[in-house]
Amino acid sequence: MPKITFIEHNGTSHEVEGEAGMTVMEVARKNDIPGIEAECGGACSCATCHVYVDEGWLPKTGASEEMEEDMLDFAFDVRANSRLSCQIKVTDELDGLIVRTPEKQF
């Protein structure tokens, strides 16, 4: 099972197991990772599941699509490696993925 590490803004790190097919947001919720609110439940309509993908992993997670990019306008402190975690599908390829949660989800 692919392992995912969530690093909180304060540095606390959580390594958890994901399942291929789930989204990174769902993995976070299942494991009660703080800092991911996901108000809309993964419909790409709230931007409260914002994460920063660890630079090295960007090629593997791919870029965000237009709808996600639009929704990121509603997130705070958006950076080049910003993604909405409900739009990243977990695959075996992503084993070892590291994402950081922002200071605030707005």
């Binding site: 108000e39 709230c46 409260t48 306008d73 509603f74 707005f106």
Partner: protein, 341 residues
């Protein structure tokens, strides 16, 4: 401004799908409704959060979008002529000595009604507040999350932040009356009506507005008076301004519902499952806002709750009227109410 109170049978708080369907069930029983919503249009979450997304579990509709469902409900309740009051939040509910209820909105509109139906869903839609340190200090005058009166911005130096329709519409509308307007967005792409984008670009060309690519990082000012905001993009700039209009969409906050003295369970209103009445006699709660054993936050559950609630409201409002159970298919009196010819 205070308008004279509106008197009616029932006030429904929230014009989401459940509030809308409540109009239908009450209407069949000849009970008239006014609906109040903080949004500027009907549909609640369906219209605000997912108008284009498909819903697959509305009985008899294999697929219907949030907006289509809203439009269909509006069509269905048309015969009952519901009165809508948008852009207003209900802040207070109070029981009067004669047993009726007095409601007041944040726009000082008052209502007097026989029963109240709370269909407030996940709570009132509230503008997202940028998590900038100390922003609260400026919310009494300098920071505005919506425009109530254009005159508040006359001759001011405005900073408008965002890239959607609200940000652009207000950029276009306020530029003629403001002293200066600066628009800030994190990228040079706007999710707004093409016409507005073109008009805004024209203002930019003509030098009538300033534009910065970037995001806010710090507010400056003293004693609640804003003097500027730091914008971080490729480089850092300090934009001088005394009015800030941030448009980052809406989030649902329980809001005033918590202050109405009703029994709550984990921030939801406890109701019984026979009448969906709250701990306060005469006040009902249906849809996502209520809680009872086995509750499912689904639209179809809210529709069922609306039907049972209406029966009890009818018993309150028309205590002497004999209730005859009827089908819309076969009852000529129900069909007359629906305008079936």
């Amino acid at each position: 401004m205070s308008n004279s109170p509106i008197e009616t049978d029932v006030v429904i708080i929230g014009a989401g799908p459940c509030g809308l369907f409540a109009v239908f069930e009450l209407g069949l029983l000849d009970i008239r409704c006014h609906l109040i919503d903080i949004l500027d249009r009907p549909g609640g979450q369906c219209a605000e959060l997912y108008p284009e997304k498909p819903i697959y579990d509305i009985p008899a509709y294999p697929i219907i979008s949030g907006q289509e469902l809203t439009d269909a409900l509006m069509e269905q309740i048309k015969p009952f002529d519901p009165q809508f009051h948008f852009n207003q939040r209900v802040d207070e509910i109070e029981k009067l000595e004669d047993g009726r209820f007095h409601l007041k909105t944040d726009d000082n509109q008052e209502f007097i009604c026989k029963n109240v139906v709370i269909a407030a869903g996940g709570g009132s839609f509230t503008p997202k507040r940028p998590p900038l340190p100390g922003i609260e200090e400026y919310e009494n005058g300098s920071v505005h999350y919506s425009v109530r009166r254009m005159s508040d911005f006359e001759g001011k130096d405005l900073l408008i932040v965002g890239g959607g329709d609200s940000a652009l519409d207000w950029t276009l509308n306020l530029t003629p009356i403001a002293n200066s307007v600066t628009l800030v967005h994190r990228r040079d792409k706007f999710r707004a009506a093409t016409d507005s984008v073109n008009k805004m670009l024209a203002l930019r060309e003509e030098g009538k507005i300033n534009f910065h690519l970037g995001q806010m990082t710090e507010i400056h000012g003293e004693n609640g008076e804003m003097t500027g905001v730091t914008i971080k993009g490729e480089e850092e700039v300090l934009v001088k301004c005394n009015r800030l209009l941030p448009f980052f969409g809406l989030t649902m906050k329980l809001g005033p519902v918590a202050n109405w003295g009703l029994n709550l369970h984990e921030n939801l209103i406890s109701v019984d499952t026979e009448k969906f009445e709250t701990s306060a006699e005469g006040i009902f709660a249906i849809g996502d806002i209520n809680s009872y054993p086995g509750k499912l936050k689904l639209i179809l559950s809210g529709f069922h709750e609306a039907a049972l609630m209406a029966q009890k409201v009818n018993a309150y409002i028309n205590p002497d009227k004999k209730v005859v159970f009827q089908y819309t298919t076969s009852s000529s009196s129900l069909q007359k109410k629906l305008g079936v010819k």
